[in-house]
Every structure is written in structure tokens, then in C-alpha cells.
């Protein structure tokens, strides 16, 4: 497949998925048991609403239109950058998302850095010393890292580093010192997954013939490792790291609650409890878009890095 066709193919599947995802983001709200308008008003005003109030709310929010019409209205709005308004304040959902996103992006990037700083060296050392004590140790550490719930790890770090040692603040966001603990919490879980990946990828590469050839011609081991093996081994690693970027939102949900960081995760949790559906729909759609775009980018980087795809391998 040449680049043009491949791009076209990937873009068309991505668009199909986005269409489905938008319908799903929108439709989820209709799972509400009972009448959404009544439930929302009930929660907002704290008293049972009068039938007139419910009717007025429905009319104002366009909930009386047939669902397909509501969906079309919503999509048309999105194409103008309008995701609707919060039920609780007159703020637009777009503004809310833009306000909360930087906190989450900051956390995501910082934890990726933490993860890579731990995982790449650990994976390399593990692979080079395969079967040694150091390898077993690092694999065990990785296994524990995957198994630890990040909300517990977060509190553990708070207890040790904030309450006893007083090194970092317990919660909040904005300064670098407030970023350290959340980033370590989120990053160490990812590091565990990436370490295993780097190790396996390195081992696969170390067994291939070009390594023997490189060694046979007397290339220094360090050069073999870093110039040849690491470079090839990083291809699958990039994919997973890319996918992890979407998954960061999963972790951010919980980590932001633990550290009281006002990011998208926290906003989603608050909006869910408040039944602030326009905000929920907006965040869900945004995560799906981020996910689809990262997937697309990962596939395209694969295309660049791995010539086999260029020669017409199927993409499943």
C-alpha cells in the first residue's frame, strides 16, 4: 500500500469510528432511569420540581425534540465549536474543557516522562542481564507496579512524602512541587507495563541475525545495543506508549480525585454526580477524539518506522 492509499484507508476507518463514538457519547445520557429533565432539576434545586418547571426546562434545553434531531443539533453545534452549556452555570462546555484540560495534559506529560525514565533503562538492563538476579528483581518490581491500585499508591506517597517528610504538598495543582507526587503515582504504573515491553522487544531483537553479524564484525557491544537493537526494539514500544497516552485519562480520573487536581478527570467525576450531562457528553467525546487521533498517529508512525507495512501488509 502506498502512503496515499494507506492514509485514505486509515482516515476513513477513523472517521467511521468517530461517528459511532459521537453517537455513543450523545446517546449514553438516555440511559438515565426515569425522566432526565426531572432528575436533573431535582438535583439542581434540591426540591421536587413542579411539572411546569420540568416542561420549561425541557423546552429550554431542546429535550422535547425527537432524539435524532437533538443529535443532529448537537453535532452541528460541535462543528461550530459549541458543545452546549453547563446545566449549572452559564459557562459553555467548551470553556470548561479548555479551562480544565491544561492540568490533565500537564499530568499526562509529566507521568509519561516519569514512566519512560524508569522503564527504558530498566527494560534494557533486564534484557541484557536476562535471567540474572537484577532481571528477576526488575520483573518482580514491574509486576507489583501493574498490580498496585494507583489510588492506594497515591495515598501511600502522600503519607510518606507529604505528611511524614513534608517534602511535597498534599493536593492541588499549579506548581511543580504539586505535580511530582501525582506524576509519580500515574507514571509508575505505566512504567511497569513499558518495562516489560522494552525487555521483550530487546530480547527479540538480540536474537536476530543482524546482531550476531554486527558482533562478528567486531562492533563494540555498546554500539550494537544502542545503535541497532534499541532502535528496532523501540518500534513496538512506541505503539504502546502512544496508546497509553489515551489510557492516561483512565488513570487521571482517579489520580486527580486523590490529589484534588482540578483537571478533566475531576470535572468528569463532578459532572457525573451532578448529572451535568452536556459536560459529560463533551468530555466523553473529547476522550474518544484523543484516543482515535493517537491511534491514527501511532499507526502512521508505524508506517514510517516499519517498512513491512509499506509493502502491503494488512492492518488489523
Amino acid at each position: 500500500m502506498n502512503l496515499g492509499n494507506y492514509l485514505l484507508y486509515r482516515l476513513s476507518t477513523a472517521l467511521t469510528v468517530l461517528f459511532g463514538a459521537s453517537a455513543l457519547s450523545f446517546g449514553l445520557v438516555f440511559l438515565t432511569p426515569g425522566d432526565p429533565a426531572e432528575t436533573i432539576l431535582d438535583q439542581r434545586e434540591d426540591t421536587h420540581p413542579t411539572p411546569e418547571a420540568v416542561e420549561a426546562f425541557r423546552e429550554a434545553e431542546g429535550l422535547n425534540d425527537p432524539i435524532p434531531i437533538q443529535y443532529v443539533d448537537w453535532v452541528v453545534g460541535i462543528s461550530n465549536g459549541d458543545l452546549g452549556e453547563s446545566y449549572y452555570s452559564s459557562q459553555s462546555v467548551t470553556t470548561l474543557l479548555v479551562e480544565h484540560a491544561p492540568t490533565t495534559i500537564e499530568l499526562a506529560l509529566a507521568s509519561m516522562v516519569v514512566a519512560l525514565c524508569i522503564a527504558v533503562p530498566a527494560g534494557i538492563v533486564s534484557a541484557v542481564h536476562r535471567g540474572d538476579r537484577i532481571d528477576i528483581g526488575s520483573q518482580l518490581a514491574a509486576l507489583i507496579g501493574v498490580s498496585m491500585p494507583n489510588f492506594w499508591l497515591g495515598y501511600l506517597l502522600i503519607i510518606v512524602f507529604s505528611l511524614y517528610l513534608g517534602l511535597f504538598p498534599v493536593s492541588g495543582s499549579g506548581s511543580l512541587s504539586q505535580l511530582v507526587l501525582p506524576a509519580v503515582t500515574l507514571g509508575s504504573g505505566m512504567a511497569a507495563i513499558i518495562t516489560r515491553l522494552v525487555r521483550t522487544a530487546m530480547l527479540d531483537e538480540l536474537e536476530s541475525e543482524y546482531v550476531t553479524a554486527a558482533r562478528a564484525k567486531g562492533l563494540r557491544e555498546r554500539l550494537v545495543l544502542y545503535k541497532h537493537v534499541l532502535r528496532n526494539a523501540l518500534i513496538p514500544v512506541i505503539t504502546i506508549v502512544g496508546l497509553q497516552f489515551g489510557f492516561v485519562l483512565n488513570g487521571a480520573l482517579v489520580v486527580e480525585v486523590v490529589f484534588q487536581r482540578p483537571g478533566l478527570g475531576m470535572l468528569l467525576v463532578d459532572s457525573i454526580f451532578a448529572r451535568n450531562y452536556p459536560v459529560v457528553q463533551g468530555i466523553v467525546l473529547l476522550t474518544a477524539v484523543i484516543f482515535v487521533v493517537t491511534n491514527l498517529l501511532v499507526d502512521l508512525s508505524y508506517y514510517r518506522l516499519d517498512p513491512r507495512i509499506r509493502l502491503g501488509g494488512t492492518n488489523s
Binding site: L143, P149, L153, L253, V257
Partner: protein, 263 residues
């Protein structure tokens, strides 16, 4: 080992422990571990050991049930897609793509939140967001198994399609599904506890691990055991299933590339 201990704990534990997990003031409030209360008591004077042991029942029960539903749903969809091919395959796989376009926990949170906070709704939410991975794996396995001679032979002898699917294709997908399923149980335990921690799952006073952890977070300075006991319980459970899954993979299907999903 860990899994075996856990299963015994979950089945027999509640009978053995000395206190009712929801009874308040069985001891003094917030007392650090003593002989009478080996894991201390919480802010309402409840025995933490009794609570954590009862919690094993919730966590294991939910994880097994949710994983079971995911496996069944995913296997049916994967078998149908892989075996039928054509537009059915195309449509089902797009559905899988759409499902996988969301980070699992985010979607589960939204579904559970909209249905309303309860343990049952968390289970529904986790079950419907997790089947797609299985469908993909099963479909892949079926596609390669379909080309085998024994399937062609079956078809040649005029065996009905459902019979070929059940007798010849289903067994070939059992191994990968079992391995992924075991590894998945750990992640379901994590997700259930996470959602309960956020406040969507089990409601107090249910002795569920995530709920317990959430209850203990206001006492970090005075009562370290309140968050750490359920935390350790969750971590050990997940570790146990991960070890079991790794072992199964080595034994059954060493070439299987397992990607540990987050949810």
C-alpha cells in the same frame, strides 16, 4: 497460591472472623492494631479485619462474574465475525473499534454514573465496556483456525455451520481466552475498587475494598491502616491473578502476545 488463599478467604473467611463487618462500635473508634482487633478499627469503631475479609467476597465475586460476561459476549461476537466473514464481520468489527475508541474506565464511569451509583450498575458498566478485546482475539484465532484442514474436512462432510463453530473453532480459542481472562480478572478488581473509591460502586457501609479506602482517606495522618489495609488487599489480589495469568500463558500459549489493558 495467592489466588487459592483468596478463594478460601472469600468462602470461609466471613464465617471465621469475630465481628460483623458493618456493626459499629465493636471496639473503640480509630484504634491502631491490637490483639482484639489485629488490623485496628475505623472511624465508626468497626473491625477492619472483619471488613477486609468480607471484602474479598465482593471483589472476587464481582471480578469473576464481570469477566465471565465479558468472555461470553466477546467470544460470541468474535466467533460470529470470524466465521461469518463478509459484511457481518465488517459491521461487528467496526462496533469493536467504536467500543475500543474509549478508555475503558472513562466509559465505565459514565455508564455507571448515569445508571446511578450502585454495585450492580458498576458490574453492568464494566461488563459492557470490556468485551471488545475478547472479540478481537477470538476473531483473529478463528480466522487462522478456519484455514486448517480439519475445518475444511468438516465442511466437506457436510457438518452444519454451528457444529463446525462449536466443535472445531471454539476449542481453538479457549487457550488465549483463558489466559487473557485470568489477566483480566486482576484489572477488573482494580476497576471495581476504583469506581467504588470514586463513589459510584458499593455504598457505605458495604465492606468493599474501594469504598473502605475512600472512607479512610480522611484519616491519613491519624490512622494509616485505614487506607493501607484495603490497598494491600487489592494489590495482592491483582498480583495473584497476574501471576496466575502469566503462568497459564507460559503453560498454554507461550506465543500469545498479551497486551495488558488498563481496564
Amino acid at each position: 497460591m495467592i489466588v487459592a488463599t483468596l478463594s478460601v478467604t472469600a468462602t470461609l473467611g466471613p464465617v471465621v472472623v469475630p465481628y460483623d463487618p458493618t456493626a459499629t462500635n465493636v471496639g473503640p473508634q480509630i484504634q491502631s492494631p491490637t490483639l482484639a482487633h489485629p488490623l485496628g478499627t475505623d472511624q465508626l469503631g468497626r473491625d477492619v479485619l472483619s471488613r477486609v475479609v468480607h471484602g474479598a467476597r465482593y471483589s472476587l465475586g464481582i471480578a469473576l462474574l464481570v469477566t465471565g460476561i465479558r468472555v461470553v459476549l466477546g467470544t460470541i461476537v468474535g466467533l460470529a465475525a470470524g466465521y461469518a466473514g463478509g459484511w457481518i464481520d465488517e459491521a461487528l468489527m467496526r462496533l469493536v473499534d467504536i467500543q475500543l475508541a474509549f478508555p475503558g474506565l472513562v466509559l465505565a464511569l459514565v455508564v455507571a454514573g448515569i445508571l446511578g451509583p450502585s454495585l450492580r450498575n458498576v458490574m453492568i458498566a464494566l461488563a459492557v465496556v470490556g468485551w471488545a478485546t475478547y472479540a478481537r482475539i477470538v476473531r483473529g484465532t478463528v480466522l487462522s483456525a478456519k484455514e486448517r484442514e480439519y475445518v475444511a474436512a468438516g465442511r466437506l462432510f457436510g457438518a452444519p455451520r454451528w457444529r463446525i463453530a462449536r466443535r472445531h473453532l471454539l476449542p481453538s480459542v479457549m487457550n488465549p481466552v483463558m489466559v487473557i481472562g485470568t489477566l483480566n480478572i486482576g484489572t477488573v478488581v482494580l476497576a471495581t475498587a476504583g469506581l467504588s473509591f470514586i463513589g459510584l460502586g458499593a455504598q457505605p457501609p458495604t465492606p468493599e475494598w474501594g469504598t473502605m479506602l475512600a472512607g479512610g482517606r480522611h484519616y491519613l495522618r491519624t490512622a494509616w491502616w485505614l487506607v493501607n489495609v484495603p490497598g494491600i488487599a487489592i494489590a495482592l489480589t491483582v498480583l495473584g491473578f497476574n501471576l496466575l495469568g502469566d503462568g497459564l500463558r507460559d503453560a498454554l500459549d507461550p506465543h500469545l502476545q498479551t497486551r495488558v489493558e488498563e481496564v
